[in-house]
């Protein structure tokens, strides 16, 4: 694999830079909701993602002693692991989770911070998220923060020192796509750190749209893991992200109400 030429120079000439580290892929993927470890491995590989989220949970004591370990298929040597604080509803729990993740991953400081508000929406609790951010930044963490699509709050997270701000497109796992493209555009225009859409993407065109709006990347899990064929969807998402990014860089034509012929009028013989 290492000898294969990259399919598109345009993509590799345009790295995503997070906390000073360059990545070729602008698609970040989660590892939840897969049928088994093999499907996790295959879909993650097909996505081309370099940054992969994991959750931190209690180890099963005394049972399943030989069950396969996620880190056996998603190796920290091959992927940049992004431990998340999913399931945390308070700043305190999120801070504990990040500290455990850092210990688990040998001093790794890049984390995805999310502090949730309620189970029905899984919308972020911004007050708790801001509190956790302040503590974790002082503690040396590099935070990619899950937030809502509010441009004012996005700017505040950047000011607090987050290395990336990740507004939701729609509720986690909903597949509703980008519900508020104008807010996402405003967040992108204001930002000097990478903006990644995190959550709510349903299919490849949603991912492409996020990129066309100027987002630096997209983080998704359910849209791939929940597809009928996760490996094929992972491949589709990879292409959607690349197509959307190239379209953004190429600069789309303005929208006009009426037609403009593509074939010249000069030289017609009728």
């Amino acid at each position: 694999m290492s000898t294969a030429l990259h399919p598109s120079a345009a993509v590799s000439d345009d790295p995503l830079i997070i906390a000073g580290v360059e990545y070729r892929s602008r698609l970040l993927v989660g590892t939840g909701k897969y049928r088994d470890m093999e499907e996790t491995r295959a879909a993650t590989a097909a996505s081309g993602a370099e940054i992969v989220t994991v959750a931190i949970r209690r180890t099963n004591i005394g049972q399943h002693a030989n069950e396969p370990n996620l880190l056996d298929v998603i190796s920290p040597q091959h992927y940049t692991l992004l431990p998340n604080t999913a399931g945390c509803y308070t700043a305190e729990d999120a801070i504990r989770t990040c500290r455990l993740a850092r210990e688990l991953l040998d001093g790794h400081e890049l984390v995805k911070l999310e502090v949730l508000g309620d189970e029905k929406t899984l919308f972020p609790d911004i007050i708790q998220t801001l509190q956790a951010t302040e503590v974790l930044v002082k503690d040396g963490f590099k935070i990619m923060v899950y937030t809502n699509d509010d441009p004012i709050i996005a700017r505040r997270f950047e000011e607090l020192g987050c290395v990336a701000v990740m507004p939701l497109a729609a509720p986690i796992g909903s597949g509703l796509g980008i519900r508020n493209p104008y807010n996402i555009m405003t967040i992108v225009e204001n930002a000097t750190v990478p903006i990644l859409v995190d959550a709510g993407v349903g299919t490849a065109s949603d991912a492409a749209l996020a990129m066309e709006l100027g987002c630096d990347g997209v983080l998704m899990n359910t849209a791939i893991a929940g597809a009928r064929d996760p490996v094929l969807m992972a491949s589709a998402m990879k292409k959607g992200i690349e197509a959307g990014r190239e379209a953004y860089r190429a600069g789309r034509i303005p929208r006009k109400r009426f037609a403009s012929a593509s074939s010249p009028i000069d030289g017609t013989f009728f």
Binding site: N69, L70, L104
Partner: protein
């Protein structure tokens, strides 16, 4: 002595170190992190960290998540 291990009450006959606890649980060498009474216990100190009666211990690892 008793401890609270991942939310469950467990009995251990004698005082033991974090390393011995992990060995008893068959977890030696696994990639995990240990928290005792909400404080991280670094891997490098497992041999010297003595578990106390009533300690609340969390042993965690990475699983699939988004």
């Amino acid at each position: 002595m008793h401890i609270i291990l991942n939310g469950d009450r467990r009995e251990f006959p004698d005082a033991l170190s974090a390393s011995q606890l992990l060995q008893d649980l068959g977890l030696t060498g696994k990639r995990l992190a240990l928290e005792v009474n909400r404080e991280i216990v670094p891997r490098s100190t497992f041999d010297n960290h003595i578990i106390q009666p009533g300690d609340r211990i969390e042993i965690v690892h990475a699983i699939g998540g988004g």
